[in-house]
Amino acid sequence: MSNSSSGNVGIVIVSHSSKIAEGAADMVRQMVGNAVPLAWTGGDTDGGLGTNVAGILEAIEAVWSPAGVAILVDLGGAETNSEMAVEMLAEDRRARVVVCNAPVVEGAVIAATESSGGSSLAAVKRSAEEFYA
């Protein structure tokens, strides 16, 4: 469900569907490579469509480093649950975990590309959000 490496910004993919989250992660791995810590989570706790805060927290934890973590989400609950997860983090980590306003698949690939070059969390977020610019 996750694996990590280096001091690059971590990427978390949150979708209502575990298949979408896993598929987006596959695309990141194949297109960008393994230089970026990457984790995904999707579905509610019963295995249905939805998102859950515990799963998001676990994914953040899996890719955490002081370089920070960029979260890519799909619709509504994925965003609000991700924001809730960020609020539940230790205070010193909260500012280093951001939810990107970007499409989940494209944003994940772009964010990971940016991260793989050693870019800062702000640069990773900005690059992913260029899709809506």
């Binding site: 960008v32 690939v109 590309t113 940016e114 793989s116 070059g117 870019s119 690059s127």
Partner: protein
């Protein structure tokens, strides 16, 4: 010169230019775009490219901007590179294009 800031460093170096034809079947689509930006990010030099020798120029380190160019197979990519490692950077991006980004 001790300033490692890329843009200021770039100003101190005359831009190098060269071009290469996109040989891979699908052109500069998503995967090659990612490879190009990853390659470009490995250098301090400012690296830009265009479909015409006089621009408009696209920052080769921006994955979104590179993908938006949608350069097709057969297009000529004109590179403009400036920076302390400009020569190596230009050689690297040209090799990547010549090599079809490792695709067919």
């Amino acid at each position: 010169m001790h300033d490692v800031n890329a843009s200021r460093a770039a100003n101190a170096f005359a831009p190098l230019t060269a071009s290469a034809v996109l040989v891979n079947a699908v052109g500069l689509h998503a995967r090659p775009s990612v490879k190009l930006t990853q390659c470009a990010k490995g250098f301090a030099a400012k690296i830009e490219f265009a479909l015409a020798p006089d621009g408009p120029w696209t920052d080769a380190k921006s994955p979104v901007k590179v993908m938006r160019v949608k350069a097709p197979q057969g297009a000529t990519l004109h590179f403009r590179v400036a920076g302390p490692d400009g020569k190596a950077a230009l050689a690297a991006v040209l090799a990547l294009v010549h090599d079809g980004f490792g695709e067919a």
